[in-house]
Symmetry: C2
Subunit: 190 residues, 2 copies
Amino acid sequence: MYDPLIKNLSKFVPLSSQEAEIIESLFTFKKYRKKQYILQEGDVTRFETFIVKGVTRTYEVDDKGQEHIVQFGLEDWWVGDLYSFLTGSPTTYNIDCLEDTEVLHITKADLETLYEKVPKMERHFRIMIQNAFIASTRRLSASLARSAPERYEEFIKKYPQIEQRVANHQIASYLGITPQTLSRIRSQSQ
Amino acid sequence: MYDPLIKNLSKFVPLSSQEAEIIESLFTFKKYRKKQYILQEGDVTRFETFIVKGVTRTYEVDDKGQEHIVQFGLEDWWVGDLYSFLTGSPTTYNIDCLEDTEVLHITKADLETLYEKVPKMERHFRIMIQNAFIASTRRLSASLARSAPERYEEFIKKYPQIEQRVANHQIASYLGITPQTLSRIRSQSQ
DNA sequence: TCAAAAAGTTAATCTAGGTTAACGGATTTT
DNA sequence: AAAATCCGTTAACCTAGATTAACTTTTTGA
């Protein structure tokens, strides 16, 4: 159950079996059903989430009631609202499951304990967040400089696994376009 | 000369004077003129840059030759292309100066040395990148969910210092709109 | 297992913001 | 200090993608 997590956390720094044990003691396993919320707007994010199995979406709802998907989550990915988690302020995001999903949660206090007991985890999370930051910057560039068909093409090239597993209207929401527009793009691109 | 850097680096973790000395030995001071490039598309980013004084812009040029500003840099900010810096691949960004600018550079090897000699710097950079990631995520949400006037309003609320110091067409480029559209927004909002 | 809901597609119309162009004022450059 | 370039603004027109709507196909859950 903890294997995928240990494998993820030893991606950048080697871990001894004692360290792996400490890690296991600080995470909590939980199952969610399809459509179930992991996090809801207005909640304070009490934990960061590692996905063992399943698919999640993180989205915001704007003033006009429209949903905008900010991130998908698949096996071996981390999801959560870092801002709310770190500051204790209520989140503006919703996270729910597109399939039955199994996760490992860690609270803020336990993450601090982890950094204390296994200091090399600072390095791991620095590198991990660095990579997430780079990805976010690139997506931002794309959203400013690319047309809808270009963004769609980039998306299926970059995340073929996601394209297989989530519905088209979810991808449209991620790309910032309507399902109708995506449908037109798809019919024209072949 | 190094004072603003030491102050920046001790924001999240306390630093002794020996540690401050190590830091000073690893950074290089450099002056740039207005319009001068710090980094150009195709270069490999050899250093991360801390701004002591001045203003920079980081931008990408798309297929149609249009510039898209990804980030502004002011005093006490870090700029650079983390992806190119970390992987050694050529950058797709340009960084140039909107005013005469003074910076402190650190190379990848020296940053590794810094992490080794002052391990608490891992923590500092983890938190710093965490904050940058959060900011990038929020800007991404805004670019997907907000209209141009809303994005402009958010921008001047969040970065009044930038609004004072950079030209409007630069702000338009940052917001992903044309200078004409920004001009229309500005004339309607008062 | 079948009715209801959700998802995908296509087409007609609408609109936010882009494009082009022209002009006056402010900076730079020589 | 003249010439050249850059900036901001306004206006007329254009276009990518949104909206609305109607219909078909697929999925869901009672």
